[in-house]
């Protein structure tokens, strides 16, 4: 399909596959990688670019629509004149973190200000409603658009965009060094990288949650013109296992597949289209087995044993035993029990996984990827590829969000092996769906909580029995169990503590590291439980915390002595700023007490609606 268009002021004519969308044309054909493909389904906005002056989502635009159109991408927004006012404002306000959403945000802000030169904060939020950010929480992005608006309208001088260099730097707001590359889209993420003679990888993944692999027949795939190599676990030269704590995961499924989406085979071909077509020709014979999906059932005798070394599928059982828990309950005036559950959420970093591997002239295999764990991965790879450590190199590319989800080496092994076998660079880019299916999730927990307290609020006993679905491979489960157990009972001085944190293998997607791993789930249960106890004791929930918070000289749940503890001071300061309305938690439901905590100037406004047209509201 021949496409002629004007892109960033320059006329181009190219021949592309007819199924290309505008995003493919811009990124793959023209190598303008400033705009990204975060989802391919029109949800995230990283692909936003101007077509004939109108901002559109290029992942939703068949390339045929732009014949003879005028296209403006983020790559040349400034027309070589230095960054635009919007881009400078993003830099000044510190709006970028991982930076992956920023080119799209810059485009959306630019479009908004072109259409609406005087937007208020709510109109800005609505104008950017088609763009998602996973890192920043949006506040600084909205600040940047306000700053750009004011400078463009001359309400503020252009010096407002300049960096404040102050001495001393401590306590000052310093500009981010990585921002210029991110606001212009110049920063290269792994999917933006390419090398001459590069191959494209596609991975065949298991459709079954638990099955034995009987055979893999790749003959037809290998015969396809343009296919350079097909690899399976049979091609791995060294000791094929990796894992952050327990090395139980092969780089491709070996003998068994243990979760839907596990990698079974990988193809490297001249084009992505060829690699995708070839993957459909690989014939895998499975013997489907009965899997187990509930961690409580997986622990029972008779459940399928998913890993030889893990009896009753226990990945990790962390125990905290302090004091005498039964004695603690005997001393209690009140005992409160409840069960809490947390969900298996997805990190959804805006950058889907991607990597580029190649072999240097001295035989060193080098992998660029947004790995959060390159040292560990490098050593694991050296063992897996049976190479000396100085012949394996891992480079951490600009990470478009990780949050723990990019700690596991789930694709770098395949890339390295394919690069070695083909002696060519190989690139692999996950689709958003692939990222959902194959990558780690947050450990879901079921927490049985039992707490004994005196009428004064003093906790006499805390017992937490926690079971977590660790999924098919260990990933960070041991660490998550440790952290959830050690930190779970909270910053409270407790004499009698009993905690079980049990991570269990199942045939679900593996659970891995995810922000605060483990402590988030267990502490949620503790704080929720304390609020429940406050209700039962008819106490203000903050007062209940104050009674129990650690102070100087406290002993932790693992018997560590802490000399200096500022928890009470922190809570005091926070409560003053929060305008806390004291009282027992359920007093508003069954009494005539008026709420003091809402309706004041400090109350955050509810989500405003339809600001593009001021809708009348009468309620």
């Amino acid at each position: 399909m021949e496409i002629s268009a004007t892109v960033n002021g320059r006329r181009v004519t190219r021949n592309v596959p007819n199924h290309y969308r505008l995003i493919d044309f811009v990124r793959e054909e023209l190598h303008l990688t400033g705009n990204k493909e975060g989802c391919g389904a029109g949800e995230c906005g990283t692909c936003s670019m101007f077509v004939d002056g109108v901002l559109v989502k290029s992942c939703l635009m068949p390339v045929q629509k732009v014949i003879n159109s005028n296209i403006e991408t983020v790559d040349d927004l400034d027309r070589d004149a230095g960054r635009t006012v919007v881009q400078q404002a993003f830099h000044k306000c510190g709006s970028s973190q991982c930076g992956y959403c920023i080119p799209g945000m810059v485009m959306a802000a630019t479009s908004l200000l072109r259409k609406m030169p005087f937007p208020d904060r709510e109109q800005i939020k609505e104008g950017l409603g088609g763009n998602i950010c996973r890192c920043t929480g949006y506040q600084k992005i909205v600040d940047a658009v306000e700053l750009a608006r004011d400078v463009l309208n001359k309400t503020l001088p252009s010096s407002a965009l300049e960096e404040n260099t102050t001495e001393p730097i401590m306590g000052a707001s310093t500009p981010r060094l990585d921002a210029p590359g991110k606001v212009t889209g110049a920063a290269k993420y792994a999917a933006d990288m390419e090398m001459a003679n590069m191959l494209h990888m596609q991975v065949l993944r298991s459709p079954h949650s638990y099955a034995k692999i009987i055979s893999i027949d790749a003959k037809a795939a290998l015969a396809m013109p343009g296919v350079e190599v097909v690899i399976t676990s049979n091609d791995v030269p060294g000791i094929d296992n990796f894992g952050v704590f327990i090395e139980d995961q092969p780089i491709m499924a070996r003998e068994y597949v243990r979760y839907v989406g596990e990698a079974v085979a990988a193809i490297a071909a001249e084009t992505l289209d060829i690699a995708i077509a070839a993957s459909k020709l690989i014939i895998v014979k499975y013997e489907v087995l009965g899997g187990v999906f509930d961690p409580h059932l997986a622990m029972k005798d008779g459940a399928p044993q998913l890993h030889e070394f893990a009896k009753n599928n226990i990945t990790k059982h962390t125990k905290i035993r302090k004091g005498d828990i039964e004695e603690g309950f005997k001393q209690a005036d009140v005992i409160v029990e409840e069960v809490y559950q947390t969900a298996k959420i997805e990190h959804a970093y805006l950058e889907p996984e991607a990597g580029l591997a190649y072999v240097e002239s001295d035989g060193c295999v080098t992998i660029h990827s947004p790995s959060q764990n390159i040292t560990h991965h490098r050593h694991a790879l050296a063992k897996i590829l049976d190479r000396p450590i100085n012949k394996v190199r891992m480079i951490m590319s600009t990470v478009g969000g990780g949050f723990g989800g990019k700690e596991d080496m789930i694709y770098q092994g395949m890339l390295a092996l394919a690069a070695i076998k083909t002696r060519r660079p190989v690139r692999y880019v996950f689709t958003r769906e692939e990222s959902f299916i194959a990558s780690a999730k947050r450990h879901p927990f079921t927490i049985q909580y039992k707490m004994g307290l005196k009428k004064s609020g003093k906790i006499t006993a805390t017992k937490m029995v926690m079971v977590s679905d660790g999924g098919a491979y260990a990933m960070s489960t041991p660490g998550v169990m440790n952290k959830s157990a050690i930190l779970g009972p909270g910053p409270y001085q407790l004499d009698n503590v009993w905690v079980d944190a049990i991570g269990v293998y199942t045939n679900n997607t593996p659970s891995g590291a995810m922000r605060a791993f483990g402590a988030f789930q267990s502490e949620f249960a503790t704080e929720a439980h304390l609020d429940l106890c406050a209700e039962k004791l008819q106490m203000d929930p903050i007062e209940l915390r104050m009674v129990n918070l650690m102070r100087d000289g406290a002993t932790t749940h693992t018997r560590q002595k802490i000399d200096r503890v500022l928890a009470v001071d922190c809570l005091d300061a926070v409560m003053k700023l929060a305008g806390w309305d004291k009282g027992i938690p359920n007093r508003h439901g069954n009494s005539k007490v008026t709420r003091l905590d809402i309706g004041s100037t400090a109350t955050r406004k509810s989500c405003t609606l339809g600001t593009h047209l001021k809708q009348e509201e009468d309620a």
Binding site: L55, L60, M61, P62, K65, E126, G130, E434, S606, L613
Partner: protein, 303 residues
């Protein structure tokens, strides 16, 4: 992924019908904002089409004009046009109020009203607004070289989830709706978040006061996302016309709306929201047209 053997950006209506004659099973698209997300793993998966006809560049399908007491607009009218076009804002303001809730700024520029209607999702945002405007849909086909047109009320055109009366080799030419100068309008929508969300409940209300500003002369209420098809609430409309309207009366009429919820999920939530949407939408329209009515019961807090 969506792939095709042939993708043609048609330059004229005759080109469209030529291709349809040769390949009657051709897939027709305009904005492509529904089909591309659909053809992905987890939904339709890889979809290969033999022939696609893109009619988004056909000038004959892009028009917005007034004909007496009717407004007509072509199939290539985008959702953004509903927001930006002065004629539509003046004569059919409900469409603009609906548009600000539709997807996001970028998708609105690409997506067309015709596409939204033919997709016939039970949660389609434009349908309640169009039904409130007594919209007719104009269809066009070519048989033995002759262009044949038919006009169908939108309520009849939409048959069920994903089902319409659109025939094979037939295209949507445009829409025709009431010109409603001086009417008040309100659009309500709720979903899991503010932008880019499929409606859990959506509603359009349009109304006009009598000359003496004592009663409602006309009111139209249409709902979506709570049943297999969008619909007008004509019973409720008749209850509100003619008599003098109070907040209590609006509340009582609104409470009848909950029985129209046919959803299979989140029934209780949708019933409560729908009643509140009817009440809030009607109160808003009443006040816009000069009938000062306060919502029944205590004032809402600003939480």
């Amino acid at each position: 992924m969506l792939t095709y053997d042939h993708y043609v950006v048609a330059g004229s209506l005759s080109e469209v019908f030529d291709i349809l004659d040769a390949k009657p099973a051709s897939r027709i698209l305009a904005g492509a904002t529904d089909i591309l997300p659909w053809a992905r793993y987890g939904r339709a998966g890889d979809v290969h089409l033999s022939s696609v006809i893109d009619l988004s560049k056909i000038a004959d399908l892009k028009y917005i004009q007034q004909n007496g007491n009717k407004i007509s607009f072509g199939a290539n009218t985008t959702i953004a046009d509903l927001q930006n076009n002065a004629l539509l804002r003046e004569h059919a303001s409900i469409l603009a109020k609906c548009a600000v809730w539709f997807a996001d700024d970028q998708i609105r520029e690409q997506a067309t009203v015709a596409g939204n209607v033919v997709n016939a999702s039970p949660a389609g945002d434009t349908q309640p607004a169009l039904l409130a405007l007594n919209t007719n849909i104009l269809l066009m086909r070519r048989e033995q070289g002759e262009i044949l047109k038919r006009v169908i009320p939108l309520a009849d055109f939409i048959q069920g989830p994903g089902k319409t009366l659109l025939g094979q080799k037939e295209i949507v030419a445009g829409f025709e709706c009431d010109s409603l100068l001086g009417y008040g309008s309100a659009y309500e929508k709720v979903g899991h978040r503010r932008s880019l969300v499929i409606s859990t409940v959506c509603l359009a209300v349009i109304g006009k006061a009598s000359k003496d500003k004592a009663t409602l002369e006309d009111i139209r209420i249409a709902i979506g996302a709570v049943g297999p098809v969008p619909r007008r609430l004509r019973d409720l409309e008749s209850s509100l016309i003619g008599s003098s309207v109070t907040g209590l009366m609006v509340r009582q009429v609104a409470e009848e709306a909950c029985d129209y919820v046919q959803s299979r999920s989140r029934q209780e939530y949708r019933r409560e929201v729908l009643v509140n949407f009817v009440e809030r939408g009607v109160i808003s329209v009443l006040n816009q047209v000069g009938l000062k009515v306060i919502r029944y019961g205590e004032e809402l807090t600003s939480v």
